[in-house]
């Protein structure tokens, strides 16, 4: 009987841990919650820089291909900047599987009791515009300026807590919260009442 139980346990452990490899952060409290807009702008920048770089690589036009090194450099810098933010906010560890939004939400949930609702997008239109610019022979500087101008100016993700306080009186009085001003994340003024 013990052997059967042990086998079932091994199988279960094997199965559950097979799929995802998400690792919890070492210390959730150390995580800093930076303004989501900054993270979204940094992520959008390296996405668009990557699109410009790949378009150069696929191009057959020698004039466009000659900008490949510069485009690769812009993409490298953009991603390094994003990674720098993650490192500062303790949202990333080199020897751990990456899950920046997951770790961010874990801290967010710890503070506010709920996760942030991130926008599901791959910036298809913006990428198409960048691709067009590259094909038309725009210089790396022009493309960088264009990308800078097109980055979001308001958060694309939503703090669901805002809606629950205004739209419906829920059974559990959630803390009233004003929309955080641009810049720093407000320290929690009120603790969430136990359900």
């Amino acid at each position: 009987m013990k052997k059967v139980l042990f086998l079932v346990l091994v199988l279960l452990v094997g199965l559950t841990s097979q799929t995802a490899l998400a690792d919890a952060p070492d210390d959730v409290d150390q995580i800093q919650l930076r303004d989501p807009l900054e993270l979204e702008r940094a992520a959008m920048q390296y996405m668009l820089a990557f699109e410009a770089y790949v378009t150069t690589r696929r191009s057959k036009d020698p004039n466009v291909r000659s900008k490949m090194v510069k485009m690769m450099q812009e993409y490298r810098n953009a991603y390094a900047r994003f990674l720098e933010m993650l490192r500062e906010d303790k949202l990333y560890a080199p020897n751990k599987p990456k899950d920046p939004a997951g770790w961010y939400d874990e801290k967010h949930k710890k503070i506010k009791g709920y996760k942030r609702e991130w926008k599901k997008t791959d910036a298809k239109e913006l990428r198409a515009e960048v691709k067009e610019m590259v094909k038309n022979g725009a210089t790396p500087e022009e493309i960088k300026a264009f990308i800078q101008a097109k980055l979001p100016t308001a958060p694309m993700s939503i703090d669901p807590g805002i809606y629950t306080t205004t739209t419906s009186a829920s059974a559990f009085p959630l803390p009233t919260q004003t929309v955080p001003a641009q810049g720093t994340i407000p320290t929690p003024t009120q603790t969430v009442p136990a359900p």
């Binding site: 390296y46 990557f50 090194v69 490298r76 720098e84 751990k96 990456k98 939004a101 791959d122 298809k124």
Partner: protein, 218 residues
């Protein structure tokens, strides 16, 4: 007239000669024949080594293509054929990005006889708006010839740690590049010129110029 004793002597000598001849020639023949086959074996072993690398690389390209084709979630494929060789591919979700993109470990490996080759990379698979191909960004490909089983969590964890050590050093070199100004960066690198082998010194300024022009700047 030769008597029996002399005939026996002569027969004895003949037998000894034949046995001696065979005892010497056969091992020499065998050794000489091994000479050719050992060279051929060496060449084939090296060829198999190269083939595992080429096949594993093709496997990782196939993985990227699957992600771009909007195949999502955990996948563990074995014995995927390319030509006459086979590769294994594992796409292991690790988390989410800030645009709800799925982050993966992309693992591909190939084994031919005793030769192994495994590749580990990170990949981001964005969401299709509205339809594929989906934006996929892969980075930091890492290789090893250790016989890792890419569909076993334990092996993936040790690959992750080994790769993590290199990534830690990468963070340090990036930090160094980021914190130095271009002139500072090239001055410090040029200063190493005196400690370089003689063959590198003549071209070191051009190399430092390339490093400076591609220095990380944020």
């Amino acid at each position: 007239m030769i008597n029996n004793r002399q005939r026996n002597n002569r027969r004895g000598i003949a037998i000894v000669m034949v046995i001696g001849l065979v005892a010497i020639i056969v091992p020499v023949l065998y050794m000489l024949s091994q000479l050719g086959t050992s060279q051929t074996k060496l060449a084939f072993k090296y060829h198999e080594n190269l083939l595992t690398e080429t096949t594993a690389l093709s496997g990782s390209n196939a993985g990227i293509s699957r992600l771009r084709g909007n195949i999502r979630g955990y996948q563990s494929l074995t014995n995927q054929l390319i030509g006459d060789e086979s590769y294994s591919l594992t796409l292991r979700p690790t988390g989410k990005g800030f645009f709800e993109q799925d982050l993966y470990y992309l693992l591909a490996n190939s084994q031919i006889k005793s030769h192994h080759y495994a590749i580990m990379a990170e990949a981001e698979q964005f969401n299709p708006q509205p339809s594929p191909p989906v934006l996929v960004i892969a980075r930091d490909y890492w290789n090893t010839v250790e016989p890792y089983e890419i569909d076993q969590v334990a092996d993936v964890l040790s690959m992750q740690n080994d790769r993590g050590v290199d990534l830690l050093r990468l963070d340090e070199t990036r930090e160094y590049e980021k914190n130095a100004t271009p002139d500072q960066y090239s001055t410090e690198l040029l200063a190493k010129s005196s400690m370089l082998p003689a063959e590198i010194v003549p071209d070191w300024p051009e190399i430092v110029e390339n490093l400076k022009s591609e220095k990380l700047s944020m």
